[in-house]
Symmetry: C2
Subunit: 297 residues, 2 copies
C-alpha cells in the first residue's frame, strides 16, 4: 500500500515538490494556509485537508515547506497544528530553511507526541524542484531518515545525512551564506575590470577558467550580463538566511566577519527596493555604487 | 625556421612554462637572475644568455615571468635590461601578475623602442603549468596578440584577449580577488557547521551540490580536511595580489569592501607565519579564531 504523505506549504517550491511526490505514487493529503493554492494539486489527485492537524491525522509522514521559523512553529505547534494530529511513529519532515534552534525546539515538541522530526532543507531553484533534482541536507535520527529515503528521493537527487536534529539546517545556512558571498564578490570584483574597460562578457568567459569558477558565476553571470533580475531565489529570502546564519553564529560564538559585511550589502539592496528580485540583483546595486555597468550595452 | 623565444624568470611557474615552449619546438634563449636556475633548461637544449638585454638581442619574443611589479620594471627597464636589447618589431610578453598601471608604464617604454608589449598573466597552479593548460588573459594590441598565439598556446589552453594594455592584468586581479574571497568565506561559513558538530567531510560533500559549489571548494577542501597546507599558490602571493587589486581600485575609485576585509584576514594569516603555506591555510587561521576544527580528527 502506498505511503500516505501530507504536504503543507504549496508555494513556489512546495508546488513542484508535492507534484513529484504524487508522480512517485504516494497517496497525498495537502493543505495550504492560502486555500486556493491547493486546487492544482487536488486536480492532480491529492486529497485536500481542512487544517494542518487534519493532515497529520490522515498521514504517516507530514512535510512542511514554509518561509520562516515563525511559519513552521505556527503550522506545527499552534492550535489546529500538525502536533495535534500526530500519532506515535509519525514523522514530520520540515524542508523549510529555518534557524537550527527553532528546528530543534520543534523537534523536541514533536518527540513529546511519540513522533519524530527531520530537518531537511533543500538547495536548488524552482527549476531544480520541478526536475526532482534538489539537494537535501538532513538532520535527525538516522533510522528515521533511512525510513524516509523513498519520500525524499521523489524530490531530490543528492540527499545527505548530516547528523542530529538541526544539523541539516546548519548546513543549509552554511551553503546559502557562501552562495550569497560568491554573488556579491563576483559583482564587486568585476566592477574593477568593467570600470577599466574590460567587456563584461569576455571577462566572464575568462573568469570561468580561473579560480573564480563557481556555480554562481555559471548560473548568474548571464542574468547580470542581461540586467535580468527576475527572481529565481528572491533577494529578501537570501537576506533572511544570512540573518539566520549570523544569529546562529552569535549564539554559538562563531565570528563571521565576511558574511556580516555581505549581509549589509544585501540590506542596502533591500533599501533600494530589490528584495523581490533575484538575489543576483545585488550586482545592480554594486555596479551603481561603483559608477560602472556590468550588463552588456 | 623556428621562432626565437626568450624566457626570463625560471621559477616555480617559469620552469614548466619554458619547458613547454622547448617541447613545442621554439628556439629558446633563457636567463634568470639566480643563474643556477638556468641549468635544467640549458640541459634540455635552451641557450643561456648573459643578461636580460642579451636575451632581447637574440630573440624576437621575450617572455617575463617574475614575482612583482618591481621585478618586471627592473628586468625590463633598468641597466642591461630587456629594453636595451629590443629591436623594432620585437614583442615583450609579461606573464607576471603585476599592477595594471605598472604594466602600462612598461608598455609605453617598450613602445618607444619600436617594440610591442602584451600583458598576459596566467591563472592556474604549477600542475596546470606543467600540463601546458594555463588560462592566459591578454592585454595589448590585438594583432600583436594574434601573431603570438602560437607561443601562448604552448603554455596555455584557454587564452582570452581582453583589450588594450593592462586589461589582462585587470582580469587577473579580478580572478584572484574572487578566488581569495571564495576560500576565506568557505572556511568562515564551514566553521559555523563544524562547531555545531557537522562532520566536515560530509558537509563538504553536501556543499558541492549547492550554490557553494566552486573550483576552490573542489580543489582546496581536501587539503583543508587533511590540514595539509603545502604551497601550490603561496598565501603571501595572494596577499600581494589582493593589495594590487585594492590599490588599483583606489586609483580607479571602485569600492571593494568585501575584498578589503578579506585582505585583512590574509594579513592576519601572514602575522601568524602562514605566508609560505598555500593560501588555503587561511582556513587554519579561521578555524582557530572560531574555536573549532575543520580538519578531520
Amino acid at each position: 500500500m502506498a505511503k500516505k504523505v501530507g504536504f503543507i506549504g504549496l508555494g513556489m517550491m512546495g508546488n513542484p515538490m508535492s507534484k513529484n511526490l504524487l508522480k512517485a505514487g504516494f497517496e497525498m493529503i495537502v493543505w495550504n494556509r492560502t486555500v486556493s493554492k491547493m486546487k492544482e494539486l487536488v486536480d492532480l489527485g491529492a486529497t485536500p485537508a481542512g487544517s494542518a492537524k487534519d493532515v497529520a491525522q490522515k498521514t504517516e509522514v507530514v512535510i512542511t515547506m514554509l518561509t520562516g521559523s515563525a511559519d513552521v512553529q505556527q503550522v506545527i505547534l499552534e492550535k489546529n497544528g500538525v502536533i495535534e494530529g500526530l500519532r506515535p511513529g509519525s514523522v514530520v519532515i520540515d524542508m523549510s530553511t529555518i534557524s537550527p534552534s527553532a528546528s530543534r525546539d520543534v523537534a523536541t515538541e514533536v518527540a513529546r507526541s511519540g513522533a519524530n522530526m527531520l530537518d531537511a532543507p533543500v538547495s536548488g531553484s524552482v527549476g531544480t524542484a520541478v526536475m526532482g533534482a534538489l539537494t537535501i541536507m538532513v538532520g535527525g535520527d538516522e533510522e528515521v531518515f533511512e525510513a524516509q529515503r523513498d519520500v525524499l528521493a521523489a524530490m531530490g537527487k543528492n540527499i545527505f545525512y548530516m547528523g542530529t536534529h538541526g544539523l541539516g539546517s546548519y548546513v543549509k545556512l552554511v551553503a546559502n551564506s557562501i552562495m550569497g558571498t560568491y554573488m556579491a564578490v563576483i559583482a564587486e570584483a568585476m566592477c574593477l575590470g568593467a570600470k577599466a574597460g574590460v567587456p563584461t562578457e569576455k571577462m566572464v568567459e575568462a573568469l570561468k577558467n580561473t579560480g573564480a569558477s563557481s556555480r554562481v558565476l555559471d548560473l548568474k553571470s548571464p542574468l547580470v550580463l542581461e540586467g535580468n533580475y527576475k527572481a529565481q531565489f528572491m533577494l529578501k529570502l537570501l537576506f533572511k538566511d544570512l540573518g539566520l546564519a549570523l544569529d546562529t553564529a552569535a549564539s554559538d560564538t562563531v565570528p563571521l566577519p565576511i558574511i556580516g559585511l555581505v549581509r549589509q550589502y544585501y540590506a542596502q539592496a533591500l533599501v533600494e527596493g530589490r528584495g523581490d528580485n533575484d538575489f543576483s540583483a545585488i550586482a545592480a546595486m554594486i555596479e551603481k555604487r561603483a559608477g560602472t555597468k556590468l550588463s552588456k550595452p
